[in-house]
């Protein structure tokens, strides 16, 4: 190794380090500081210690938001991965005609805005699906599913799965293409069925891709915001109010800057813990398979 002055490397890093600190770490610390005050977003404020955190745990509105967010996030994580993996397995077969066309169609949602897709689907749920429901004689579909507190979350899941599956599928396709064909041939010689091939060859070998997709899907879903803004605005009532929506509303519009900062830090801890636990468990599984 030739010894080089370290100065040029420092010059390369320093500007971004400063920028990142000023616009990411500093506001993060500021949010943490405010979470121990009674700051409304304007005017004077006082130090209140852990009061906000205590109140967050007693707040039924925040509890409901977490309940919805987790119900939504776990459901969409499972469905995004099921659809993404299913589509990838289908597209990976060379016994399917017009594969490039299918691939293009299945990839497109990845580049589309969740907000705009939400607007498009909100029209679909309000004006198209009920008419189809009436035509087909399905009473559960004959009304706008976004209009009822017990079904609105399903609409949010549909939009999220529609948009987010594409990314999962792209990653799974890369995983499937990395599996050597000989392994399948060996399996066939041993008389393995399609299902056995999937369970004993495909799934174990794409385990790392499964880990990434599960972690990314859950993390993104726990931060859900855009599609809710365009589909339901958090309603009807507060039935689809996610934690991010609540932080936005409470922090900017309701004068609960400090209180929602505490809530945001709890969300941060929840997401970090969930992601780390998920990664640890899935990686352990990778080794076992």
């Amino acid at each position: 190794m030739i010894l080089r002055s370290r100065a040029p490397y420092l010059v390369m890093v320093l500007p971004m380090l400063v920028l990142f600190f000023v616009f990411h770490t500093y506001p993060l610390l500021q949010g943490l500081y405010y979470s121990f005050t009674d700051f409304a977003g304007w005017g004077d404020y006082e130090w209140v210690g852990l009061r906000n955190y205590r109140n967050v745990f007693r707040d039924p509105r925040i509890f409901d938001a977490y309940q919805f967010t987790f119900l939504f996030a776990i459901t969409s994580m499972i469905l995004v991965n099921a659809v993404g993996l299913g589509a990838a397995v289908g597209l990976n077969s060379n016994r399917v005609p017009a594969r490039p066309v299918f691939k293009t169609i299945y990839f497109i949602p990845y580049v589309l805005s969740l907000l705009v897709i939400g607007y498009i689907f909100s029209y679909f749920f309000a004006h198209i699906l009920p008419r189809l429901g009436v035509m087909l004689g399905i009473p559960n579909l004959s009304h706008n599913i976004l209009g009822r507190p017990d079904t609105a979350w399903i609409g949010v899941v549909v939009v999220s799965v529609w948009q987010m599956s594409a990314f999962a599928m792209i990653i799974y396709l890369a995983g499937l293409q990395s599996i050597p064909k000989e392994l399948y041939e060996t399996c066939e010689i041993d008389g393995g069925t399609e299902a056995q091939k999937f369970l004993h060859v495909t799934f174990p070998l794409i385990a790392p891709y499964f880990t990434i997709n599960m972690v990314v899907a859950l993390k993104n879903s726990l931060m859900v915001f855009d599609q809710i803004m365009s589909l339901t605005g958090g309603g009807p009532g507060r039935s689809t109010e996610s934690v991010s929506i609540l932080i936005y509303r409470g922090g900017f519009q309701a004068g609960n800057f400090a209180y929602q900062s505490a809530n945001a830090f709890i969300l941060f801890i929840v997401i970090a813990v969930v992601s780390v636990v998920q990664m640890k468990r899935l990686q352990k599984r990778e080794v076992q398979l």
């Binding site: 190794m1 890093v13 971004m16 977003g41 990845y110 907000l115 945001a264 997401i271 970090a272 992601s275």
Partner: protein
């Protein structure tokens, strides 16, 4: 006959069903965007191919929501963020990747990458105040934020991609008397093309479609990106669906066109650039 038997029809039919699910909302968008409110009373009226396509809807939607300005803002934000992210993150990634034994750079790497776990909701409230305070609740301010917030993932990708570029390359250049900057710019930067592709795609898709950051930074100034405009003019669009859908299509189309033109690059970029 033989050709027909070659195909796996079960898979093909399932893929077709899926394709309909993915295409239908986009088909519906195009159909509604080209119709008049009078066509919208029946299901077949809404979904049929228009006999008299209303191209004027696009002009009217653009006028009502000032989409031309929003389009310019979006193009400025996305292109500047992409260029700045590639230039700055590749340098940071290079400095970190070429000093694997230095504790300073290992800590830096951890510092940047661990930020991926910070949900935006945590900095959303303070950053909105801070940007307003600094008079940076503007388009350049938004670009600065995207460049900063793109660092964790981009640096992660660059450090990963750099592992496949041998250090011997740098050393050969240094023996010839090149400086670190020179060898990075002339030698390493071009070799990182696959990583650039990944970073460009991620940054472009993210900054073009992002809604929350423009909402809290530009919202109060009534400046719109193309995505933000859809929200700002929601009220108008729910009374005239045809204009609304014309506007949605204007927001979606640029990404669809770019994707169709560069599909191979996008897909290989997403899977090849160290994301694994």
């Amino acid at each position: 006959m033989k050709a027909l038997r070659r195909y796996d029809w079960l898979r093909t039919v399932l893929l077709l069903v899926g394709a309909v699910v993915f295409v239908f909302p986009l088909y519906m968008t195009v159909m509604i965007a080209l119709k008049t409110p009078a066509d919208m009373t029946t299901l077949s009226g809404i979904l049929s191919i228009p006999s008299d396509p209303q191209w004027g809807n696009f002009v009217e939607a653009a006028r009502v929501a000032d989409l031309l300005t929003a389009f310019r803002v979006s193009v400025t934000v996305t292109s500047s963020s992409v260029v700045l992210t590639v230039l700055t993150s590749s340098m940071v990634g290079y400095a970190i990747g070429r000093n694997p034994k230095s504790r300073l750079y290992r800590i830096l790497f951890l510092y940047f990458v661990s930020a991926m776990f910070v949900p935006f909701a945590v900095i959303m409230l303070p950053i909105a105040r801070q940007m307003a305070f600094l008079d940076l609740d503007t388009v350049p301010g938004l670009i600065i934020l995207y460049t900063a917030y793109g660092v964790p993932l981009s640096v992660f990708l660059y450090v990963g991609g750099l592992k496949s570029v041998p250090v011997d390359f740098d050393e050969a250049a240094w023996i010839d008397g090149a400086s670190v900057f020179y060898s990075f710019r002339k030698l390493i930067f071009p070799l990182l093309k696959p990583v650039h592709a990944t970073v460009v795609i991620h940054t472009a898709v993210w900054t073009w479609n992002d809604f929350l950051l423009p909402l809290i930074i530009l919202g109060a100034r009534r400046i719109n990106t193309l995505a933000l405009a859809q929200h700002s003019f929601e009220g108008q669009f729910t009374t005239d669906y045809n204009l609304g859908f014309a506007s949605y299509l204007i927001a979606l189309l640029p990404m669809i066109v770019i994707f169709l033109a560069a599909q191979k690059l996008v897909v290989s970029g997403l899977t090849g650039g160290g994301l694994k």
